[in-house]
């Protein structure tokens, strides 16, 4: 879960870090009022669940309440990174002498948290890494020991900053690490971390990404506004992961790996998948709602059901498929390839109830589904 900037900054401020004075608004009039209260000049920032807003025109400046209203008018309702802007954050524009980069994430190879920091902030980490990897400092943390103030201070000792700034950097990192842990974050990033001309450290932006697997125990988070297309939101309510794509071959497969391989095979043989839909793991008993969603996409001209059961029983999945099929009576043609746990019964059900002969090879089923979609 990606927390919008203003939520992230609220967590930073509650933890004792300095953030610019600001207010979240959803109308141009309120934006002007915010600029008046805060005092121009201000920054107006689109609040969406995505980074790189500056590059996408999602960050504007206002030197007066009128300009602020104008900027808010431009941003509200517009698209930034494919997301509709419903709120903007109006913030005081500070006089910044330097911009640093600080982030905490996990290193998937070393299997532990890692602190990343740089005195070259303001650009994103990809650019930072590409441009000057030697300026990107990092330090791994033993998660059972954590990071205390003294350890953080030693960690940043070689950073090319003056003594007081190194102290402030260490304090910022210690606080950010505490948030990273208490919020089950995958990423806790402050970029830029500004140093004002008066020497104060200010979090000018904040990116907090929370581990979706930990949302149940994270009770302090805002309730996430539903995102995605109508069908994607419906899938989410059903506890299914569904991603709508541009193609015309509807895909139902079990497990993320097989589903991706099925989409890859459709593309490999010259077709275009209409969706990603996972009915693997515990979701294998949800094939009925899953197929209903796949078929509700009007772009779908043929259906490909590709199953390889291990933990997921293919006969249980096929029962769900038949349930949806007999309820919806779809007119799209379908191709099946089914192997693994429950295969004999699953194949029998399809022959008997749908009068369709499943393909033995996945590749043949993929080619058939592409052909059927093209003929439709």
């Amino acid at each position: 879960m990606f927390l919008e900037e203003h939520w992230g900054k609220k967590f930073l401020a509650d933890a004792g870090l300095v953030v610019p004075r600001g207010r979240v608004v959803d109308t141009p009039d309120d934006a002007a009022a915010a600029a008046r209260d805060i005092g121009a000049p201000v920054v107006i920032k689109a609040q969406v669940q995505a980074g790189r807003r500056g590059k996408s025109g999602g960050v504007l400046f206002g030197s007066s309440p009128e300009e602020t209203a104008q900027a808010a008018r431009r941003l509200l309702g517009s698209d930034v990174q494919g997301l509709t802007v419903e709120q903007v954050l109006v913030e005081e524009r500070l006089s910044i002498a330097r911009e640093l980069y600080v982030a905490i994430t996990h290193d998937s190879l070393r299997r532990r948290p890692v602190v990343l920091w740089s005195t070259q902030g303001g650009v994103n980490i990809e650019e930072l890494h590409a441009r000057a990897p030697e300026h990107l400092l990092k330090h791994h943390i033993d998660i059972r020991q954590g990071l205390d103030a003294a350890a953080a201070r030693r960690m940043v000792d070689a950073t090319p900053l003056e003594l007081s700034a190194r102290d402030a950097l260490a304090a910022t990192i210690t606080t950010l690490y505490g948030l990273y842990r208490s919020l089950d974050a995958q990423l806790a990033e402050i970029n830029p971390l500004g140093i004002t001309t008066a020497g104060t450290f200010v979090a000018l932006d904040c990116k907090l990404v929370i581990d979706d697997s930990a949302l149940q125990r994270q009770t302090r988070l805002p309730s996430a506004a539903p995102t995605g297309t109508r069908l994607e939101r419906r899938a989410k309510r059903e506890g299914l992961l569904y991603i709508e794509l541009e193609g015309n071959v509807g895909v139902l497969a079990n497990g993320a790996g097989l589903t991706m391989a099925t989409m890859d095979a459709i593309t490999h043989y010259g077709g275009r998948p209409a969706n990603f839909m996972e009915v693997g793991g515990d979701a294998y008993r949800k094939a009925e709602p899953a197929l209903s969603i796949v078929l509700a996409n009007p772009r779908v001209k043929s259906l490909l059901v590709n199953l390889c059961g291990a933990f997921a029983r293919t006969d249980v999945i096929v029962e769900g498929v038949l349930g949806a099929w007999e309820k919806l009576r779809p007119t799209v043609p379908a191709a099946f390839s089914i192997h693994g746990t429950g295969e004999t019964r699953a194949l029998g059900l399809i022959r008997e109830r749908l009068n369709i002969e499943p393909y033995d090879l996945m590749d043949d089923a993929v080619r058939a589904a592409i052909g059927l979609a093209a003929d439709a």
Binding site: F2, Q49, A50, A103, T105, H106, D107, S108, L109, R111, R112, V114, L116, I125, E126, H129, K138, D142, I143, R144, R181, D184, Q186, L187, V209, D211, D212, S213, A214, Q216, R217, I243, L245, A253, N254, G255, A256, G257, L258, M260, A261, M263, D264, A265, I266, H268, F276, G280, G281, C308, G309, A310, F311, A312, G340, T341, E343, L361, M362, D363
Partner: protein, 298 residues
Amino acid sequence: MSHVSPLIFDRPVRVLVQGITGREALFWTKQMKAYGTDVVAGVTPGKGGQVVMGTPVYDSAEAACRDHTIDVSVLFVPPRAMKTAALDALRAGVQQLIVLAEHVPVHDVMEVLAEADERGARVVGPNSPGLVVPGRYFVGILPAWEATIFRPGPVGVVSRSGSLGTLVSLNLARGGIGQSAFIGIGGDPIVGTTFLDALETFERDPRTQAVAMVGEVGGALEEEAAEFITRMTKPVVALVAGRTAPEGRRMGHAGAIVAGTSGTARSKIAALREAGAHVADVPSQVNEILSRTVTSDE
């Protein structure tokens, strides 16, 4: 990291099933026993003293380990109970854990792996479908008894995905090529046993002639393994799922940058090709390539 516990065993393994009284655990315990896996004890807190399918149940792994010698514990516990169960087993001295749960909070995984590292223990997973050594034993949730999928043979299979790894195994078996072992490492962002660990195991394993490696987008495990492939004597055929997966919103991308990669299928395929692995475009090509590489057992 040097592990005390080997990944696959040459001798019968003594298995503990944590969460043994749950519905899925009962089903799979029955299958493991029927296959010949030596399930010696189970754990369900609060149900110590019961006996299921002839297997004694304990309140904790610690209690079970007082009465039994355990080589491997398989965790049929829900994601949020994983940390407690895994630490229980590690502190009781179990040297290999197989964690099946998916959606385990990543911070919990890191805590468990830190504890395992300190104890020289091995964790497979989370989100692992388990291990199969065809004809000898299996631990986890794979249909090892299906002779159309798993049969003894010369190819080591390692997969992040249970379903796609199973399909690759099935294709091999249909082509008359069996497996020396199937290792499901799991698809989570952080896992205890990596492609590199599995490749090192297969490179040493006298039964293995070649390796089928089934990866997917995300993380850097394929790239890490590529470096080792350059030094391997046995051929590796790789499949990387997700080359057409939508990139989506790039969240937590810093993790891949730390590892020096972008985590895309393209970067993985390039690294594997560069290292000398054969890269298949579709699952059926894996067995086509391997059938030219290994001596079939038929």
